[in-house]
């Protein structure tokens, strides 16, 4: 996309803003991060942010996309020996940005673009779980029934911030029963 130096600079600035927003959204939360605070963290006037992003929700979408992209990158760079290891790794990764999960669910109701992103995200999760379950030897006919249980349990564990031990126990209960 970025053709000339000007485009590259603009892209770099966008990336810088998204990085700062990512840090603040996770540290303070989306609602608690004001555009003013984000602006000072980047060293710019609040309204300057609106030259790069139409509004706060588009900024959220950019943060979500970049988070998912780096998650995917890390995933590809790893080898997993078992279904368990795979699932727990994913759990730990997502736990680091669990406040984003809650934020998405809150904004889905009021923002159409966020709702679309949320749908796409779940399609991705579904595809991943289907692959994992089939890989683990679950009969394809039974997969569809378990899909939502797996996804929702995982998401619930994140948004409720359960201690690692409890999350482990719940995921284990699921796994031993399915496989």
């Amino acid at each position: 996309m970025a053709r000339n130096k000007r485009d590259i600079d603009k892209e770099a600035k966008r990336t810088e803003i998204v990085a700062a927003a990512h840090a603040l959204f996770i540290q303070k939360g989306f609602d608690e991060t004001t555009m003013g605070a984000l602006a000072t963290s980047v060293g710019v006037a609040p309204n300057t942010l609106y030259w790069y992003f139409a509004n706060k929700d588009e900024l959220l979408l950019a943060v979500l996309d970049s988070t998912l992209l780096s998650l995917h990158r890390d995933f590809m760079a790893r080898q997993f020996s078992s279904f368990d290891e795979h699932l727990f790794w994913l759990y730990e990764q997502l736990l680091a940005c669990n406040s984003l999960v809650t934020t998405v669910h809150a904004r889905v109701i009021v923002s159409e673009p966020v709702a679309e992103w949320h749908t796409r995200f779940h399609h991705m999760l579904d595809a991943m779980f289907t692959w994992l379950l089939v890989q683990a030897g679950v009969a394809p006919a039974k997969v569809s029934g378990w899909l939502d249980v797996c996804t929702l349990t995982l998401e619930g564990l994140l948004s409720h911030r359960y201690e690692a031990a409890r999350a482990q126990r719940a995921l284990s209960a699921l796994l031993t029963e399915i496989c």
Copy 2:
């Protein structure tokens, strides 16, 4: 609690406000319901609400409590022939106020009283599911492992507003495997 006429009037007014807030929170959502809109809906000045409730979160807590109370009342007035029927009934009841579920999860992070209410609510759900699972003949040793899976799946189905058929399928997958 209400001793004399004055207390009764005050309690009645509080109940009226809570009822109006309940309707608006469910119809429009918590964030999208301004104190001003709620005030006009009750026919009073916005700041009058602060004579009855310290802030918007306390109003939310009152709505949550009243919702839970009437749910409990309805529950007691019913007979359930099976675990399935019981669970689906609960699902349908909670679906009617699913936006409150999302709101609670969003406010838990920032409001201590809401966090306490949320903890109490999950204790209640845990107790209920334990009772149901034992009733259904699940070995007590296995109950604790399934508890969180049941709770989180139920909550996830609500907050994601899945169509009835899909929710039915997920809950059925859980039930047939557990029992």
